[in-house]
């Protein structure tokens, strides 16, 4: 057995391989995998998600695009604002009062003062009802006696009762000498003072008792009152003749985001809607001094906007109501069809608002009063296009193809839009010089869906399947590219000779799969 074992081991030993010579294994699998897929709906094509674009549908799924902007947006605080106010008063005793005080050992003095609010901007306020605010009162006295001040604001009332308080000081101490009052639901009647507007009276009674040492004319008592953070529920008066010019507002027409202003694009009945909502009780005049369409290389004025645009204000019996007026530009009262055909990227508008254009009148505001002028571009997708061109340039860097020997791309397109499209993808260097293109010229023509004449909707999708093989040389070209340019041309059916409707259930499905022979070491 020993001999046998020795023989076995020896024979095995003779067959030993030197694994230090083992070469790195190579592997060339062929992998098939889907690269990308996309089911593009109308919302995707018009970039509805990231541009403020809204796609609406009627019961038949017919699509209308809405692009919204806001030309004017003004609230009550921009018209009437009550700044913080402060009032100071100092009381000293004259000789007669000192004589009486020193004779009788006590004295009471009454006087009335007027507090004036300053709402600014030529504004005369008659009254206001507070929503919030603070009144702070502080009494300081160096009289060597007990000083009591009773004050009353007869025209600042809550539930019919005027605001009144008493404050004390004893020998100049600071005890019980401050008062703070929440003014919520207090009503200011600002017409009762001699000034007639923007003012309110305060009645003061100063009582001096318990004299500790002689009081002279050098002694004094000071009163300080502050009104702060006044916010109103309603305010009445006359708010002056003023004019507000707002910054330019833009509407981004995203459907033309990548267009190159090539070919034609006609919408049969576009609209530019102006919607005015006003809840301010002030006679107003609203105008749109500028309305222009802008493309990358052009500017086109929009005509037909009335000046002023019709605006209605609520009357005194309509406090809190919002009055709405609107008007629309369309293909009969403006040049809007031509404007849309120029494929603009933006519509710019600027609004102006003037208060009391004819002079003195009775005005009011609530804390929620506002004026808004909204502009909406409405594009019902009924029209035609011929060679409507879009182009996009994207940065590109892909080095995962380094080990790829051959690459086969399979493209599958299914289109239910009544639009025929030609697509090309061009790989370029850093100077945008073409290195290769994905398709042969004119090769990818996505056929339009076929319209059922009875329903007017596409019933049969246009489909196309393509295969492209990239050898190593073409792959090297892709590896060196820095950008890809996507070019697309689209025309509605029959080369754009008749109008078509676009429905929201139309889709463009694109799938690209790859089969790659890879070298792995």
């Amino acid at each position: 057995m020993g001999i046998l074992g020795f023989t076995m081991v020896s024979l095995n030993s003779c067959q030993k391989d030197d694994f230090s010579t083992l070469k790195d294994p190579t592997w060339s699998p062929e992998l098939a995998f889907p690269l990308v897929y996309s089911e593009l709906t109308l919302s995707d094509l018009v970039h509805a998600d990231n541009s403020g674009t809204t796609v609406t549908t009627d019961p038949d799924q017919f699509a209308t695009l809405y692009y919204e902007g806001n030309t004017i947006n003004i609230d009550a605080s921009s018209i009437v604002n009550i700044p913080d106010q402060g009032f100071n008063s100092s009381i000293s005793l004259n000789s007669a009062q000192l004589l009486a005080l020193n004779t009788l050992g006590a004295l009471s003095i009454q006087e009335t003062q007027t507090i004036t609010l300053d709402p600014g901007q030529n504004t005369n306020l008659d009254s206001l009802l507070c929503k919030a605010g603070q009144l702070q009162f502080e009494l300081d006295s160096d009289f060597p006696a007990t000083v009591q001040v009773d004050f009353e604001l007869p025209n600042l009332t809550r539930n019919g009762y005027p605001l009144n308080y008493s404050a004390f000081t004893t020998n100049g101490s600071s005890t019980n000498n401050t008062i703070s009052e929440d003014l919520a639901n207090y009503k200011f009647d600002l017409t009762k003072s001699n000034q007639g507007v923007n003012s309110i009276d305060i009645n003061l009674t100063l009582s001096i008792t318990d004299i500790q040492s002689p009081i002279t004319t050098q002694h004094s008592t000071s009163l300080e009152m502050k009104l702060s953070a006044i916010d109103y529920q309603t305010v009445f008066g006359y708010f002056g003749q003023r004019s507000f010019l707002y910054e330019r507002d833009s509407v981004h027409v995203s459907i033309f985001e990548n267009s190159t202003n090539f070919g034609s694009f006609i919408i049969a009945d576009p609209k530019l809607n102006f919607l005015i909502n006003n809840s301010m009780g002030i006679p107003l005049e609203v105008t749109i001094p500028e309305a222009n369409a802008f493309g990358t290389t052009f500017q086109q004025p929009i005509s037909g906007i009335p000046s002023p645009i019709p605006t209605v204000s609520p009357g005194i019996n309509e406090i809190g109501a919002t009055k709405t007026t609107d008007f629309a530009l369309n293909n009969t009262n403006s040049n809007l069809t031509a404007v849309i055909s120029s494929q603009p990227n933006y519509i710019f508008t600027q609004g102006r608002m003037s208060l009391n254009p004819v002079g003195q009148s009775f005005n009011f505001l609530t804390d929620e009063s506002a004026l808004t002028v909204d502009v909406t571009m409405e594009i019902p997708l009924y029209g035609s296009a011929t060679n409507f061109r879009v182009k996009d340039t994207l940065p590109f860097s892909y080095d995962d193809l380094d080990n790829v020997n051959t690459l086969e791309l399979k493209t599958s397109v299914s289109n239910t839009f009544p639009i025929e499209a030609a697509v090309q993808i061009i790989f370029t260097d850093e100077n945008f010089q073409p290195l290769d293109s994905l398709f042969l010229p004119g090769e990818v023509t996505v056929p339009a869906g076929i319209i059922d004449p009875e329903t007017g909707k596409v019933s049969i999708a246009g489909v196309q399947d393509l295969e492209h093989i990239f050898n190593r040389n073409r792959i090297k070209g892709i590896l060196n590219s820095k950008h890809i340019i996507v070019n697309g041309y689209a025309s509605t059916v029959d080369a754009g000779s008749s109008n078509v409707k676009i429905y929201t259930d139309y889709t463009l499905n694109v799938k690209i799969g790859a089969k790659a022979k890879i070298n792995v070491k």
């Binding site: 057995m1 010579t21 889907p34 996309s38």
Partner: protein, 476 residues
Amino acid sequence: MKSTIIYISLFLGLVLNLPFNLDAQDFQMYNMNQVVQRNKLNPAFSIDASVFAGFPLTSSTMVSYQNSGFTYSDLLKKDATDSLYLDIENAISKMDQQNNIHTEISNDIVWFGLNFGKNTITVNVTDKAVLDFSYTKSMMEFLYYGNGGFNGNTGNINPGIEGSHYREHGITWTRKLKKNISAGIRIKYLYGMEHIHSEGAGANLYTDPNDYTLYGYSDYALFTAGISENSFDDFSAGNYLIKKKNHGYGVDVGLNINATEKVELSVSMLDIGQISWKDEVVIYSTHTTDGPVVYQGIDLDEFINNGYSSEAYLENLGDSLYEAFDIQESTDTFKRAIPKQMYAGANYIIGEKSKTGIVLHLRETPSKTVLNYHVHYTSAIKDWLNFSLGYSSINNSQGNVGASLVFNFKGGQMYFTSDNILGMINYKNANVTGFRAGFNFIFKKKEESTPKELLPQTNDITVDHGNIPTPEVLEK
């Protein structure tokens, strides 16, 4: 991808480097009447000895390697510069559709027995490590060539694996029921150390031929114990060898019948039992219970418009796929039966020391039950040498010529068996190779001595007359 090929190479390399001393089945052992360890294959087998014991750790050492798919030389080749290279394509071309790799290592730590009357009691403590790996040719083609050639077809990744390392503590009772019938049973306590097995149909990947959309299905679980990455932290021999909580049991039964003076029949069922795996258990599973996972590629709209970076998008995509395949990891304890085996033999007794016959062997693998068979001629030269020659079909591998030798001497024996003796010499071209060998102490009963008074006396010596007629003949 590079790491994948390295892993595959390492795996194949590991498997192919095993064959040094590896053995196939124990067919050659089955009919070696004088080797006590053949009792392992059928508890009804016993030998004519009053006491026998294995030499500790060397009484029976067995290692086994079988690969029905390809040989060492099918995979590793030399080029013109005498450098080695992996010829995976060639190895794949040699595979059957269903293939199995079986490796087994066992060693008797303790083996002894007593024979009294009609009964034999044997005690053994045996360390065993068994690993089966089943794979299909299409799986290897799919992994190596990629799914590009599988358009419109389903690639199935369904490796089956079953492996355990455990220690068997057995006590065997063999009894001669009648003059011509003996039976045996072995009761085993099993102490588990490491385990792995797979369950489920595996993972399927269908590639749409039109746009290469991928449809993935998975139904697969990998049960492990003692082989997770933290299993050998704070390792101590005491804890490893005796304190694990992986306990189990097993039973072997056998029957041997001398149907006639010339015909011997035997049958045995081995490894009926299971182990409860409780220590360091990790179960990995994936099940696509909600239908196939469909991957259509990158959603262009989402990729471009959702504001993700490409890295974030792909990370999200990976997370989504991970969730879709419902990849879970748990530490639930589990029970697992040890793979059962069955032997059946029929021998024709040619003479006092020679016999020939056939042995069938059924063995469970992860993919199916394998039937192996063996024919043999076994004989002896006097009492000191027992030998056998055989031919076997093992793990679908034909042409395995085996041999066994048993050297008996006073008080002991040495033995060596192999089911593919040529495979040991030329293991590079063999699907099956290995051996079992060992050394045993054997003490037989002294033969009863003849009383002196019965021995022939000098006067009683009969003279051989050769051709000379006896007086009786002459009288006639």
